[in-house]
Chain length 254, copies 2
């Protein structure tokens, strides 16, 4: 009897991917929807001529953007990273770009091994709005008190139970405790940018934090009330979720 | 016989308008096409409940953007400028925004009285591209020699016959002589911005100037050859037109 041909050894691959979330129903494959994962797996299949499943560091919702999403997959080693970047981009729509590729041990997994992430949330605080920031920043026409928002942003620093800031507690695995290392608001003209780094994020956590910050900025909630919401560890008193289109996944740490 | 009711006196109006050109077949009304002028006149008609025709400082082509287009129209004086800005924006799609309104003498005309304009052209000089600059900058993946481009940009300064840089000489009224006051390239990381101010622009002039600059940047044409094209005053030897989606009308001078 002839032995099976030896299989090519599988190699881990790590991609850094940017995408404009506007045209996509988020990261994860869903039947009948255009998703980033579906586009990436289609491009991988064209290159390797076999089905390859790709994992990201985490799902992004419909309309959420990525400046530096991390994607992992295993496949036979066939391409140098720079060639792979070119081949993938040639097979991807232009609103998804692979910025970098790297070979990894086969057990590398973009989600399980992520040590932390940085997100940005972009706000446009301007009476009229800006055609060039549609789908890219949350337009808040009323004046926002950035000083109060900065104070509220500092509340989130450190290790806390963020149960008040997850939209779907049932969805979480075990704990709703996360450690936030950066939580700051920067202002440039009419633009406000909220940057948050943590060891992990609950479902819709950043958008819920921003929802709270904007309520504080509008004067509809005090910084003290915001602190009480955090302490309550209960989503039922949490403020409304900020829209998806202002959110950017910036970087994943390993 | 009853006399006609006295007509309300007509007042001139000047609007400063920004738009994302991506969704529009340019400024000018065309049957069956979505244009910026059509959207603005529809909004004006809703507010005044009568047909009002709006003139801009000049047509912009399909896909060309405006940061500060000027629009004029006459109508009975009914609204203070700030109220008019709000009412127009409430009736316009979000990718067209009226930034300012001003009352003017009734004879004010955005095109006939324009003394000059500033355009910007945005280039992305990066191997991979950027999902967030699709439709907003011309992506040139090959390395561009910005030093040579700066030299070429200086050739256009001053009073010249720009016949080599208009796409449709028959379309021009009398003279193809224009005076360029600013013609400079600035570089910020991977972004290149070409800024040009003149007393007027020929049809597709900025995109043709940029087409020449990029050929110089790619090393396919020398600065001296570029100077000869300008001197030739003949479109037949002019370089290819740069794409529309990198072009921004920034300001109109009166």
């Amino acid at each position: 009897l002839a032995a099976d041909p030896p299989q090519s050894p599988q190699v881990g691959h790590k991609l850094t991917v940017a995408y404009l979330g506007t045209g996509y129903s988020g990261w994860q494959i869903q039947p009948g929807k255009n998703t980033v994962q579906a586009q990436l797996e289609r491009a991988l299949e064209k290159i390797w001529t076999q089905k390859i499943s790709a994992q990201s560091s985490g799902r992004t919702d419909t309309g959420v953007h990525a400046l530096g999403q991390t994607v992992s997959f295993t496949a036979p080693r066939r391409y140098t990273p720079s060639v792979l970047v070119r081949a993938l981009n040639a097979n991807l729509p232009e609103d998804i770009r692979v910025l970098k590729a790297r070979l990894m041990p086969p057990e590398f997994h973009a989600r399980f091994e992520a040590k932390g992430k940085t997100y940005e949330y972009h706000l446009l605080n301007h009476a009229v709005g800006d055609p060039f920031l549609l789908d890219r920043a949350w337009h808040v026409p009323q004046w926002l008190d950035d000083k109060a928002m900065r104070q509220a942003a500092r509340l989130f620093l450190g290790k806390h139970d963020f149960a008040s800031f997850t939209s779907n507690p049932g969805y979480e695995r075990e704990t709703t405790v996360r450690t936030v290392k950066t939580s700051k608001l920067t202002v440039q003209g009419d633009m406000m940018m909220y940057t948050v780094t943590a060891d992990g994020f609950l479902y819709r956590m950043v958008r819920n934090l921003v929802g709270a910050l904007v309520r504080v900025g509008l004067g509809k909630m005090t910084v003290e009330q915001c602190a009480k919401i955090l302490q309550a560890q209960s989503r039922s008193i949490g403020p409304a979720t900020a829209p998806a289109h202002g959110l950017y996944l910036v970087k994943v740490f390993y």
